[in-house]
Structures are given as structure tokens and as C-alpha cells.
Symmetry: C2
Subunit: 188 residues, 2 copies
């Protein structure tokens, strides 16, 4: 059985390194003992530290009720190997099937929230709902990461970026421009 | 002189194809006749149609006052060739220099807003501020795209994704999984 002890704790003030690149993500929830997971391409980093993440989840998503009623979720960042599964998770509903079973996802108990981490994803971020003031008008949730984990066995994960039409770009070459970054406060 | 007539009008209900992949963007403004531009890695698509984009701009950004007072901006999506310029734009202030002149950016008149498009970017989205309710607490602006343009001379642009530490990934291979996308409503 995989536990968080098999993962590496990721500093909360470095969560932006997982989200700012713009990956498609999975959002898992647990509601009345039933885990579920959805695919999400509409998300962003809002603040570095303490970290805040925004994402859209609407009433048409089966996960919506779980997110609203429990106030908790886990954001998982998949890599390119999971591309087909990421699409399939997004094209069926937890109202109809157990997606963890159907897609052979390994649920891992988190440290803080009840929603499951996903062992097949290289990063997992346990979150609590922090602000719902734009949920009614825009289905926009603000989430506060409360624990984060990465898989030490995958040092060079390649994220997936949804191009909005069922095609995805995989991370390509890395450009290191750190020497030019002298005044961080402007690059929020 | 380059005008919007040299660009291709991009349908507003397809703006998500420019933002959902998670690129680092430029945000240009015009305030009291002075154009300015900043780099931004914290942004997302909020709604497909009519489109809404969210981004963070804080009081520490010189562009903040322009955005608040004019209620307008242009989001420009740069490609990998502009990487060094994107970083440099993010590491100096419009309070000190004219960034369009300093970085030899070609300002193009938009069709709706006064903020300039940037000819060197493959996509430009004219926006109006739509909601400021989370600006006070989270510096989070919701923007309504009102016109969008792409450069027809660049059919295969490679976006840049900021990894949050001064390194960037460039778009790599494209995975086409459209055949698996049967129920769009779940992939928000």
C-alpha cells in the first residue's frame, strides 16, 4: 500500500511551481465515503505564499456537490503517460461509475483532507476551499493548499497542457533564464 | 505600419484555445496616452462563452493603476522566440522606462480598446475588466475579451510556460485525443 511516506513533502510556498506552468489537472473529492475525480483545464495560481489556487467547477460536474459540501479536494498533476486516462476521466461522470476503479487509479490517504491523492500523478496538492464569492456568478473556487507532495521517483515530469480542443501539448525543451530574473516581484 | 487588417480575427468563443494551455502572457495597458506592458504567469480561462479570463495584477505592478483606471488591457501571447524579452519585460517597471521602445515592441492599434496589441506576439486579446470583487483581497481581475487576433504568418506557435523559478518549458509534441472527447461539458 502506498502512503504519503512514499512521497516527498513539497513546500507550500513552492506550490506555484506545480500550477503556474499551466497543466491540465485532476481534482479528486470524497463525499459520504465515495471518492471521485474530474479533469480540469481552467485553473491558475493566484498567490505564491501563503498559496492560493483558483479553479472552475460547475454544478454540471458531479464533483461540485462534494466540493461544496466537504470544502476539500486534492489537485493532482498528471504527466504525459496519463494523457488518455486524463481525457477519459473528463468524459464520464462519477454519477455513473467509480472512476478510481474504472481507471485503475491508486488512491492514497492524504495527511490533512479526506479526498484521495492519486499515486499515478507526479504531484498532489491537498486543498481546502478558501473563498466561494465567485462560485455563484462564475463557478470559480479559490483553494488554499494545506499539504503538497511529489513523487521522488519522477524527477523530470512532463506536464500536459490542454489546447481546448481535445489536443494537448507535452512539455518540450526547458529554457533556463534564471540569470535574467533579478526582480521577482514583477513576475507575479 | 501594421494594423489589425494584417491579423486574423479570432472567434471570441475560441479564446480558450489561446489561454487554457497555460502560457505566460503579456498584459499591455494605455494610461493617459502612455503604453505599458507587464509579464504575467498567473492567469486562467474562467468561461468558454461568452469568454472570461482571470489574471492577477497587484498594486506593486505599475500596470495596476492603468488597469483599474481605464478598465481595459490587451493580453498578448508570446512564443518561444520572445523568451528573453518576456523575462526582461517582467523585470523592469514602466515607472522607469518605456518598455515598448526599450524592447522594440511594435504597438498595434486595437479595434475596441486603447491598450496596444503587440505585433511580435502570435495572439492578442482585447479585454475589458468585467469583475473586480476579488481585486481587494486577491488582486484577481476578471476580464471580458471583446476582440481577439492571431498572426496568420505563424500557424504553429510554440507557447512558453513559466515554471515559477525563471525557467520555462516550450511547447513540445502535440497529442491528438479528440476522438476520445465525446462529452465536452465535463472538460471545463
Amino acid at each position: 500500500m502506498i502512503t504519503v511516506n512514499d512521497l516527498r513533502a513539497h513546500p507550500l510556498d513552492q506550490v506555484h511551481r506545480l500550477i503556474e506552468p499551466g497543466p491540465v489537472i485532476l481534482i479528486s473529492t470524497e463525499h459520504r465515503g465515495v471518492p471521485n475525480v474530474m479533469t480540469n483545464g481552467f485553473n491558475m495560481m493566484v498567490r505564491h505564499a501563503p498559496p492560493v489556487i483558483a479553479c472552475t467547477v460547475g454544478p454540471w460536474d458531479h464533483s461540485y456537490t462534494a466540493l461544496v459540501e466537504t470544502g476539500e479536494c486534492v489537485i493532482s498533476v498528471p504527466t504525459s503517460e496519463l494523457a488518455a486516462t486524463v481525457v477519459d476521466i473528463g468524459n464520464c461522470s462519477g454519477a455513473d461509475i467509480d472512476k478510481f476503479e474504472r481507471f485503475a487509479l491508486t488512491a492514497v490517504h492524504g495527511e490533512v483532507v479526506r479526498a484521495p491523492l492519486i499515486a499515478e500523478c507526479f504531484a498532489n496538492i491537498e486543498c481546502r476551499v478558501a473563498d466561494t464569492s465567485l462560485v455563484g456568478s462564475h463557478h470559480l473556487f479559490l483553494l488554499q493548499p494545506v499539504a503538497a507532495w511529489t513523487d521522488p521517483s519522477r524527477p523530470t515530469p512532463q506536464m500536459l497542457h490542454h489546447r481546448g480542443d481535445g489536443t494537448f501539448t507535452v512539455d518540450g525543451p526547458v529554457l533556463d533564464l534564471q540569470e535574467r530574473m533579478t526582480k521577482w516581484q514583477y513576475l507575479l
